[in-house]
Symmetry: C2
Subunit: 410 residues, 2 copies
């Protein structure tokens, strides 16, 4: 068997991962704090690399992210705050003594090597490396060509910190070959990558679904709905809809679709439209009979995560209609109902299949910080391993530990 | 977009899954108990189908599993015992009130549609259907051609029970097209299968890694080691090694490899060999210098899950040597150390990367029943979602439920 350069690199990361898994959280937190310092000390080199990346990206017609001292300061701050977070490792998830005297525990341990494929934004380099290191994992990073020099400079700073903390430098490793072929090879390092997290657009996700043989966790789209029920407090509904759509339209937990019970549509929709001034609305026929000048919504509109000042609107017959609509068009991210009707709220909570369901609250609350998980790796819309906001805990797994005094099976 | 027959079928299963997810555990347990009854009532039809399968399989040179009344009785018994197990759903995994008053919970809910691809053994049909139904999921079953009639007869019985319990019959659905092309299409029903569990050999697993776009959980190989440390009680070590190898050699938690500290090898190995009489041993050079007539072990032997009366043996320099050997050749299933040295035990527990590590106990204890999980879906050697024995709990996921009084994000 021929070992490729990438495999040889992955093997080194794998060895480093075992050593990090054994390290104390004190050493890892030290490395994180020294990493924060080193990013600032190395700022001139990182910013110069970034300038070179920006120039080359511009010449090649690629997008690239400009860094400045302020952005480096927030990267350093993020590393310090991860260092200050509680250690997720070692938690005993359950434990019991079996009838034969075996003492059984399930203990939280690192995953091993966490691979991250990401595009452009160089802050992912330090954020992801920091979260991986905190949770006892090695970070195996594959960024984009348009940020290669910047990523390299950041990784160099972080590796210096690892060295100072007496941790293996390979625990934060950047793949410098940014070709598409290498990305595909990266997704197929089965046995060498324990968990792959893609941070990128639909093209990356479909490449992953097609080619990956390593285990992965997807950070999914958010086609989030707010359903305003017949029994909604309309003031509250307006405030929630406006917040969910407008507070930060470009993020995955922003609302993309408004569903309104037909019995209140005539009263509610004109006020909602006023509160959503500046938002391009795409409405169903019943919506358009109430709101003038709204463009007709197609199924495609209803299925779209706009991530911008646009929103689809449908009038539904009842709670069942809302649940059906969400089942058909939702992406399983965050779905909200506004109602004072306890039965309707409970049915919505039970029957809507999504990472998060909310009653009388803005979809914008579904993120790691707001739910108390601390720093966030992403928001998963898949059901296996991690569902919803992924924090440090989702970068770990469990190990069964069984202690006996010579027990054998009858 | 053209909807294929398989997609149309999957859509029906998907609709049924939503209805099962809403059903009461009383109704599901009723269906399980009535299913047990119906399997016995339908015994003549099931056994006749099995005879037809056996004849056709024989003519085609395929393997097939013969059923009789006794086997049907144990299938029924398994369904009854799943009915009697505790409901895994609705458990509140965590809960808190956020500073802004939002009440946040993470609640255990069904996965949705669980797909199972399996070979030959028709008892998987009723076992898997039972576990899926108990955990509020729909079972979408794709068995092998050599058991098609038998599987169909079993599914017919179980669907009768669903009907009697007022649950949708599509909640247990068998794919009757057993072509390879359909299996591949099955693995690619993204959005329609929430979790795929393969029960089969290496060919199935590699097809899955290559083609699957749906999330899956792998039931992995068990190349399990017993390491006999310098500080081992040799009597205990002999008893554990013999139990781990001999008690049931054909299962994944049986030991396949024996590692022995060099300081005790000369004393221990002859006694171990006597206790392992009838087992074909493949030893390293140092083993062969102690045990006469043992065949030389290659790396391939050390990497092999024999599942038979064969075992590889290596003398290692020390605990580090044992840990390195396991890191190189282990499959991450179950690894045991025999020692009275607490430091060695703790290091082994921490540094060996496997679903389960055992101190002074036989590897044979790593299964769902022995660890108190009840009926077992399989044993996962992957790290995401489920690691180690998978019980009913591993057929569920979590949903975030957030309740407020109109909170919006600042």
């Amino acid at each position: 068997m021929v070992t490729t350069d990438l495999e040889a690199l992955a093997q080194r990361v794998s060895v480093a991962a075992r050593s990090v898994a054994r390290s104390s959280s004190l050493a890892r937190d030290d490395a994180l704090r020294m990493g924060a310092e080193q990013v600032l000390v190395d700022a001139p080199a990182i910013l110069a690399s970034n300038v070179a990346d920006l120039e080359e990206a511009k010449a090649a017609g690629l997008g690239a992210t400009a860094l400045d001292r302020l952005r480096l300061a927030s990267m350093a701050e993020a590393l310090r705050s991860v260092a200050a977070a509680a250690d997720p490792l070692g938690e005993v998830l359950e434990g019991s003594v079996r009838p034969n005297g075996l003492r059984v525990e399930r203990v939280r341990v690192p995953l091993g090597v966490v691979g991250i494929i990401y595009e452009n934004r160089p802050n992912v380099t330090s954020d992801a490396a920091g979260l991986c290191l905190k949770s006892g994992n090695a970070a195996f990073l594959r960024g984009s060509s348009s940020a290669l020099r910047t990523n390299r400079a950041i990784v160099t700073a972080l590796r210096r910190a690892l060295e100072k903390a007496d941790l293996p430098t390979d625990a934060i490793t950047l793949v410098e070959d940014t070709s598409h072929a290498t990305a595909v090879q990266f997704m197929r390092l089965r046995g060498l990558i324990d968990c792959l997290i893609p941070r990128g657009g639909p093209a990356l996700i479909s490449a992953l679904l097609e080619h990956a043989t390593v285990p992965y966790v997807l950070d999914g789209d958010g086609n989030c709905h707010v359903y305003v029920d017949a029994a909604a407090d309309l003031e509250m509904a307006i405030s929630i809809v406006a917040n969910a759509k407008l507070q930060r339209p470009g993020v995955c937990n922003a609302a993309e679709s408004l569903l309104v019970h037909r019995s209140i549509a005539a009263r509610f929709l004109p006020r909602a439209a006023a509160a959503l001034e500046g938002v391009e609305l795409y409405g169903c026929e019943r919506t358009r009979a109430i709101l003038e000048g709204v463009e007709a919504a197609t199924d495609e509109h209803f299925a779209t995560e706009f991530l911008s000042l646009a929103m689809s609107v449908a009038v539904v017959d009842d709670l069942d209609g809302a649940i059906e609509h969400i089942a058909r068009f939702g992406s399983g991210h965050s779905e909200a109902i506004v109602t004072a009707d306890m039965v309707a709220a409970d049915r919505f909570v039970r029957e809507v299949d999504a990472a998060a369901v909310l009653v009388n609250a803005s979809t914008r609350f579904i993120d790691g910080g707001e739910l108390g998980l601390g720093a966030e790796v992403g928001i998963s819309t898949q059901k296996l391993h991690a569902r919803g906001p992924m924090g440090l805990r989702e970068l770990t797994c469990a190990k069964w530990v069984v202690r006996g005094e010579g027990q054998v099976r009858e």
